[in-house]
Amino acid sequence: MSVFALSLPDASSAAEAGGKGASLGFLARAGAAVPPGFVVTAGAFAAAVTALDPSGALRAELTALPVDGSLDEAGRVCAAFRARVAAAPLPPEVAAAISAGYAALGDGAPDVAVRSSATVEDSADASFAGLQDTYLGVCGASSVQDHVRRCWASLYNDESVAYRRRLRMAEDGVAMAVVVQRMVRPRAAGVMFTRSPVTGDRSVVAIEGTWGLGSALVSGDVTPDSFAVSKITGEITSRRVSVKGRLHSFIQNGGGVTVTDTPAAQREAACLDDDEIRSLADVARSVETYYGAPQDIEWALLDGDGPAASRIVLLQSRPETVWAARTAAPVAAPKARPADHVLSLFGKHR
């Protein structure tokens, strides 16, 4: 493609493709089922920002905002910059690269998801990642271009800028890539962890899911069903089916996401059957093995009659950070004789 757009399997550098883009590229190269897509690179962002702020004066103004300054003042400066980013015409080479990338996703005008992929996100702070935008159900090349600019603009949210001010990051080093991927129409979707987020147990895959798009779960609109699967025995060791009141789905041809009441028959029904739960756990394990570290994975399960394993697609995978940051004391150490374990259980060292 070009330096401004990389097809997913070519996205390998987080500096160019952002964390999300690089991670999807990694998954795609590993042979995981990832919806086809491309990454609008950090280079494209840099080219666009340089075009609208050639001297860097505007970004210097952001960098100069005091850490504990007036919120009104900061808000005004950010809003002005956002408006310019969102409105400025794209450099022609960038626009062409996006159109070409989009055209390669399929005939007609496929619906796509346009997702921010910050070059500093995830690894730095998960909460920072959440500050950038994702748009679902975008359709048509010009609309995709618009939404890429909106993603870029979201980098200048008041909160994002304030966050960078607190970390004293210079604005001219800030960049963002954008992932454009074909939309999937999942029957169910959610997240899964290759280590229990609640107990830190490494021997289970914890799965959360709901009907329809996973955005219902990520946004906190529903309490998801949750399941735990032993990595070793494959047994489903816990299951909690919740009442899932809201359903997120996307409307084709650029209609975006719609939120409706979940049909009665689905509200209290588990969104995954046992076979699907186990297949998801298998996928999670292989992703974990591929990365060599516990993962936090977004998944979607497509409709259809095929085997569950063939209907799973992955939307993101990133390293688990919460438990990885904790240092747990070893549970036990070997003793001179095996029986000493029993003696100390009942003995003084209890």
Binding site: D201, S203, V204, I232, A339, D340, F346
Partner: protein
């Protein structure tokens, strides 16, 4: 301890109307005392799910004196003395006597260390010796003679100048039965409490390293394959194979009656004789398996009631004729056990933890054969013989008119049987009729009536103040008593029966409640079995059912282990599943959460 809402105090338990005289059935030292209100007691529904007949209370009296002696006095476990028990309205409540003073724990640990260490170090050879000693006790109980009280003593008593008449042996030999039973229980606990100690250590380690691991998964890493519990069922399969081989398989048809088949075999010449010979060999000892776990006299063995083996045989004969019964895939099961253990081991982050895991698991596997197989020697083989012998004394008492029938002997406490035998002894010597009939028969009639009344009483799961912390590993391991369990007792869900999650999976189906092994023929393919307890004698039913629920048992119990091998859900140790679930109920068995819901 803090006082909370919830459980009644022992002193607040009223006598069940119509059974006010229940105390007469049990020893005075089993009664709740006023100061017992200060302690937390729980109902041992696992071993005593129904009111206990007078004689059967020996199955609490003797085991608790043996268990306590082992932990408190023999090995000197640092943190625990023995278990105390009380009987109220026919039900057994127990409490552990912990040692809390750190100085005292330290003093006991000095003694415990070398003693326990010695047993673990020489486990296998000690177990070999143990088997010899228990086989000796079994031979001794089988050899006890129940005197026949002849009109005159035989010549040899005189010409060999023995000088002691038969009536003397009434009391002596009855006492011998009790003494042997007590010795058996001392041996039963001899290695068992240490074995449980090894389990507790490994289970606790696994739960700390893998907070979401289930007990059943830990149990799967421990359980061996070559255990006695499968032997009676294997014997049946062999007998089925032999029947086909000898051409007498046609006699084993669905619904066949044991005595008819055995009579018919006698008319089948050489083939019939060979089968009967093999049958006789298999019966001793393998048919001594009890339908229960040896805590009630009516838990009969296959030998006492051939219904179970003869219900299973036709299916095995048909399967053999149709190409053979697939043997248990032992190599595959062993490989699976290793795969699971290695899988968890590999997830441990440090080499130290892996080494500790290996030590603890190794210790569990060392003790497993004893922990599993002792039940056959003690609760099945010995206990079956013991109850048979007591029943022989009952037959004698019936023959001399003291009892209406032999089984009535189990309504009397062992001290009362002792009295009745003294009465018979005196009467035989004096040449007069015994007086026992007038004394005991009204008592027995009242007790039978009371037991029926007491059966309908729902005992509170626990009594007394809720303890702040429940950290006794033995109580947790043996009875599954946890803080969550107490919570569910305090806030019961009327449609949900809670037990131990013993084998994973969730299924719905129609319940078949079997109280008695004799009802086994009513079981239909694909039903969910609900029983007081399962034992090796129940093995044939697992091929027919799709889930198992029991009142009695933990994650290492028979039902749990067999269900896991069959890959079917099981919830055990529910306490009152057989009472709350009825045949025909649609139920959902959740072997992951340990619940059974009536739908």
């Amino acid at each position: 301890m803090t006082e909370q809402q919830g459980f009644p105090l022992p002193s607040q338990i009223a006598d069940v109307p119509g059974a006010e005289n229940w105390r007469s059935m049990y020893q005075y030292f089993t009664r709740f005392q006023p100061e017992d209100d200060q302690r937390f007691w729980f109902y041992n529904s696992m071993h005593f799910p129904e009111p206990i007949p007078g004689f059967d209370s020996i199955t609490s009296e003797i085991p608790y004196q043996a268990i306590g002696a082992n932990t408190a006095r023999l090995f000197v476990f640092p943190t625990t003395l023995g278990i105390e028990h009380r009987i109220v309205n026919g039900r057994v409540y127990i409490t552990a006597n912990p040692v809390l003073d750190p100085a005292e724990i330290g003093r006991r640990a000095e003694v415990f260390g070398p003693r326990a260490g010695y047993y673990f170090e020489h486990w296998d050879s000690l177990y070999e010796g143990w088997k010899e000693r228990v086989r000796g006790l079994i031979a001794a109980i089988e050899a006890v003679e129940v005197p026949s009280l002849p009109e005159w003593e035989p010549d040899e008593v005189v010409f060999e100048s023995r000088g002691v008449a038969q009536n003397h042996y009434l009391v002596e030999n009855f006492s011998k039965c009790l003494a042997l039973y007590s010795k058996m229980w001392h041996h039963h606990t001899e290695m068992l409490m240490l074995g449980y100690g090894a389990y507790v250590v490994f289970f606790q380690f696994c739960q700390q390293a893998f907070p979401e691991i289930s007990d059943q998964t830990v149990a799967r890493m421990v359980a061996g394959i070559d255990v006695i519990m499968y032997r009676p069922d294997d014997e049946l399969k062999n007998l089925a194979g032999l029947a086909v081989e000898l051409g007498v398989g046609d006699l084993f048809t669905e619904g066949c009656v044991a005595s008819d088949v055995l009579t018919a075999l006698e008319t089948r010449g050489e083939a019939g004789a060979r089968w009967l010979d093999a049958f006789a060999k298999a019966r001793d000892p393998w048919f001594h398996v009890s339908s229960g776990d040896g805590f009630y006299h009516h838990h009969l063995s296959w030998n006492d009631d051939l219904t179970v083996p003869f219900t299973a045989l036709p299916g095995y004969v048909a399967a053999t004729a149709a190409g053979g019964i697939a043997p248990r895939p032992t190599a595959q099961l062993m490989a699976e056990r290793e795969r699971i253990a290695n899988g968890y081991r590999d997830l441990l982050p440090t080499d130290d933890e892996k080494a500790a895991f290996d030590q603890m698991l190794g210790l569990c596997r060392l003790v497993f054969p004893f922990v599993e197989d002792h039940k056959f020697y003690c609760e099945h083989w010995f206990t079956t013989r013991f109850f048979q012998k007591i029943k022989e004394f009952g037959a004698l008492l019936a023959q001399v008119g003291v009892l209406a029938e032999a089984d009535d002997v189990f309504q009397l406490h062992h001290t009362e049987i002792d009295q009745a035998l003294s009465d018979v002894s005196l009467a035989w010597a004096a040449g007069s009729p015994p007086l026992g009939a007038g004394h005991f028969q009204p008592i027995i009639a009242e007790r039978k009536r009371m037991l029926k009344v007491l059966k309908d009483w729902s005992p509170p799961p626990a009594l007394g103040p809720v303890p702040e912390a429940l950290n006794d590993p033995a109580v947790r391991m043996l009875w599954g008593i946890t803080q969550e369990r107490i919570e569910s007792w305090l806030n019961p869900d009327p449609d949900e029966v809670v037990g131990v999650a013993a084998s994973s999976g969730v299924v719905e189906g129609v319940a078949r409640v079997l109280h008695d092994v004799a009802e086994i023929g009513s079981l239909r393919e694909g039903e969910i079995l609900v029983v007081p307890v399962t034992a090796p004698s129940w093995a044939p039913v697992f091929a027919k059912i799709k889930a198992a629920v029991s009142d009695i048992g933990g994650s290492m119990s028979h039902a749990a282990i067999v269900a896991r091998e069959y890959g079917m859900p099981a919830v055990v140790g529910c306490g009152d599943a057989t009472k709350r679930i009825r045949t025909g109920d649609r139920v959902r068995v959740d072997g992951d959460r340990g619940t059974v819901r009536v739908l």
